[in-house]
């Protein structure tokens, strides 16, 4: 009888990890991994040339897991800025993650809190962008969880490994300036697929315009300002259409 119950329970319980979804997530994020490779190389080279502790600089690739903030931390450490100011600056740059956090809470609403807290560890622009689009059409928690894990592990491992290589071979690397265009290109590709109505167009246009015009703001606050203005514009268009 007990054996029967165990068999029934194992048949009813969905699998924790859907292997196909893991592979799908890993595959979908590969173009993004290629795109962020130049930035990872730039960060590795900058860290080596800054003269700061190479181990700590590399650890930031997965402890911070946010390229712009990591590059800023390296530059400010090199410039001798006070530690508290550096931490506050990095946190401000990453303040946009609040928005991602709310979205992650919605994606994984069925997961226990402890698991959601773990899933938030690698949450970053690229992972958000890839998952945000895919999860509009994915309904099962196991698929979402597995897809997210596949994409996150692929991104973080490639990101950290590339930085380790760049730190090791910094002196013999070629000019990587043209490759810096890789990340904007991939984001434009994702954007071209994401924009589907007038509200999206308004949100994107206003966000880009404000992020450019507010470029002089300290601590990369232009990004947060652009995003907030874009959201407000998109919302206004949605209300008007109603």
């Amino acid at each position: 009888m007990d054996e029967h119950r165990q068999i029934e329970a194992s048949e009813v319980r969905p699998p924790m990890i859907d292997r196909r979804a893991v592979i799908e997530g890993s595959r979908d994020i590969l173009p993004v991994v290629v795109a962020v490779t130049p930035l990872a190389i730039v960060i590795g080279v900058a860290a080596r040339h800054s003269g700061i502790d190479a181990g700590a600089a590399w650890a930031a690739s997965f402890v911070l897991c946010a390229g712009t903030a990591q590059l800023t931390v390296i530059e400010l450490l090199h410039a001798g800025v006070a530690p508290l100011t550096i931490v506050a600056t990095a946190t401000l740059i990453n303040s946009r993650f609040v928005l991602y956090s709310a979205t992650l809470a919605r994606w994984f609403a069925e997961e226990p809190l402890r698991r959601r807290l773990l899933l938030a560890l690698p949450l970053v622009d690229q992972l958000f962008a890839v998952c945000e689009r895919r999860f509009r059409t994915v309904s099962t928690p196991a698929h979402r969880r597995s897809y997210y894990l596949g994409a996150a592990v692929t991104l973080v491992v490639a990101w950290s490994a590339t930085q380790a290589a760049a730190l090791s071979f910094a002196s013999s690397l070629p000019d990587v300036r043209l490759l810096r265009l890789a990340a904007p290109l991939v984001f434009v590709g994702l954007l071209a697929r994401t924009v589907n109505d007038r509200a999206h167009v308004a949100a994107a246009a206003v966000a880009a315009t404000i992020a450019i015009l507010a470029a002089g703001l300290p601590q990369h606050l232009n990004l947060a300002c652009g995003i907030l203005a874009g959201l407000a514009a998109g919302r206004a268009v949605t209300e008007r259409v109603r």
């Binding site: 560890l121 290109l185 994401t194 999206h200």
Partner: protein
């Protein structure tokens, strides 16, 4: 030593931001007013990052080179037509390189 402390402290602070809404919302559903805002998050975030990266990379407004504009436009066009984001890089980088070599950038 200071480098390690800064990296770890920045990592902890950033993680706090990442889990902020997960902790605030707990078991509650995402509020109704927030749902439509989150639907706009993708376009707004992507556009802000691209705009700042190509037109204000060093903290001042700096019109991007023609090669960059041509490459980004071509990438967006191809992805829009094919619905394959991977083509953005495959099309955009060679175009940027050619335009750069032909001194349009």
């Amino acid at each position: 030593m200071t480098t390690w402390v800064v990296v770890l402290a920045a990592g902890v602070a950033t993680y706090a931001v990442r889990i902020s809404m997960v902790v605030v919302l707990q078991e509650r559903p995402v509020p109704g007013w927030l749902e439509p805002v989150l639907a706009l998050a993708g376009p707004a975030v992507l556009a802000a990052i691209v705009g700042a990266a190509v037109a204000a990379p060093n903290g001042t407004v700096d019109p991007p080179p023609a090669a960059t504009v041509i490459a980004l436009g071509a990438a967006a066009f191809v992805v829009r037509r094919t619905d394959k984001p991977a083509l953005a890089l495959a099309v955009g980088l060679p175009i940027a390189w050619v335009a750069h070599v032909m001194a349009w950038g």
